[in-house]
């Protein structure tokens, strides 16, 4: 752990210098700082640092396809969502008084897909919305201020309802913690449940999912990326080595990234 701090400081200083000369810090440099300060893994920090040292900032091509391995394809994602939809129906008495809230970015289309399946099976409309958690994050001060996602709570509200939070990847549990805080400012649901497409383990908070599409044992050095047709043009869950996360971050889709914060 001790080895990481001076390295992070170096990177931060480097990014600050670039920021001062170029006005806005190029994403590459900012990413290196993010990787080294946010990720809990010393090893990851070291690799990110090495990457930043060898390749000039911004040299990672943003559009690069991840060279990781595809864990779930479109059919498997579809089947997993259908199963989760049925589990939700079983455990919420046929989906009465259920409100689905997706966490941006990729939780939102997932919530919409689940809502469509619930409606298909039960025949009544299930309210679906989105819940942005950016302002409630505990790591805001570790990165430059980021753009907010969209919050749209269904007109029926959440008071007295069973709210099912939907996200793509469950990792540290911090996103869900922030979502719970955010939710309590919007209303008082009767119960809150959590549905995720992928649970990759490594929780840092006492949080577990009620519905899981796929349990995916991972190392903390690996990055799980969820791609969805709505946001990425294809459906896939990809398990890749750490550096792809930086490329993804450099593309500027930091917040809702399937890297699993």
């Amino acid at each position: 752990m001790h080895a990481r701090d001076p390295l992070a400081a170096d990177l931060a200083a480097g990014a600050a210098t670039v920021g001062a000369t170029a006005g806005r810090a190029p994403t590459g440099a900012a990413t290196a700082v993010e990787a080294s300060t946010v990720e809990a893994s010393t090893v990851h920090a070291a690799t990110a640092g090495a990457a930043a040292a060898t390749a000039p900032p911004g040299h990672v091509s943003p559009g690069q396809r991840p060279d990781g391995k595809t864990v779930l394809g479109p059919d498997e994602i579809s089947r997993a969502l259908t199963r989760v939809a049925h589990e939700i129906l079983e455990r919420t008495n046929g989906g009465t008084d259920v409100v689905l809230l997706g966490i941006p970015t990729r939780g939102v289309p997932l919530a919409q897909r689940l809502a469509a399946r619930l409606t298909q099976v039960e025949g009544h409309l299930v309210p679906v919305g989105s819940l942005d958690i950016t302002m409630y994050r505990d790591d805001l001060r570790l990165r430059p201020a980021r753009a907010l996602g969209h919050t749209a709570v269904p007109a029926s509200g959440v008071d007295g309802k069973t709210v099912v939070l939907v996200d793509d990847v469950l990792y540290s549990g911090r996103t869900v913690r922030a979502a719970l805080d955010s939710l309590s400012d919007i209303g008082r649901p009767r119960a809150v449940q959590l549905a995720v497409l992928v649970d990759r383990g490594h929780r840092e908070l006492p949080i577990r999912a009620d519905y899981v599409g796929k349990n995916l044992p991972t190392s903390q050095r690996e990055i799980v990326r969820v791609l969805l047709t709505e946001t990425d043009g294809q459906d896939a869950v990809v398990l890749g080595p750490g550096r792809d996360a930086d490329a993804q971050d450099a593309a500027g889709s930091g917040a809702g990234l399937g890297a699993g914060r």
Partner: protein
Amino acid sequence: MKRHLISAADLSRDDALLILDTAEELAQMADRPIRKLPTLRGRTVVNLFYEDSTRTRISFEAAAKRLSADVINFSAKGSSVAKGESLKDTALTLEAMGADAVVIRHQASGAPHRLAGWVRGSVINAGDGTHEHPTQALLDAFTMRRRLGRLDGLRVTIVGDVLHSRVARSNVLLLRTLGAEVTLVAPPTLLPVAVSAWPCEVAYDLSAALPKADVVMMLRVQAERMNAAYFPTVREYSRRYGLDAARMALLPEHAIVMHPGPMNRGVEIAAEVADSHRSTIVEQVANGVSVRMAVLYLMLGGADPGGGAPTGVAAGAAGAISPESTGALEVAR
């Protein structure tokens, strides 16, 4: 985002749009039962007001409190400034108290720029002399976009005392960045000497300019800065450059009427215009809180860009700002 917000020219198109989009999300919060976000918990915002202000100060205070920041209000009256303390000494006092952001209004153009070199925190210009008032321009742009759905290609006519108006300058710069076309309409005596260098059109006939305007923004006649005979009588000014119901009828169907406030009813704007459905004056105040929340969040919410060191990054940022700011200052005189 830059470290300080001193001039509307500091904002790139991306920065400005990021602020407007963020404000759009934050505006939704007004409908919630709990209108508070924990984002700036533990941060301190100082409102440093050397000039009288109602809506700007209250707006900044409400914005900071809704983001859970601690707010210290400081007005020149009843403080050590009345005993002759200089801006620099006041700044050093604030510095010692650990202000993360200083919102400053000052009667001297350029005061926020000077302050930015003395304090560690972010400096937000809430109006300096006859120079700039960037958050007003942002909330005006936000109001236009909400009402009319776009900014690109929008035709905005700004009418009145441009010479003394920090709102006009900030609006011209920001609206230009955002792709709108600005026309200034004013008596020649109330236009800055170098107005030809501004990125906008200039006209002298209000009635002729109105039919092609999407937005008409009336500026306050700043009686407190009228130290020379800029126009013969208030009545004559009002007849030629005031917006009354007859003139308002010349506007296209969708056009809106804006005023940064405080209004002189019956001088630059008739009461019936100010209270009409085209008027966005009350909306502008509500939008001001959302926009200022967005500015505070984007400037204070993330990692400290300077890592706490006032010299390196702060000097770089100040260096980047000074050419525009001083250039604009010269234009003002």
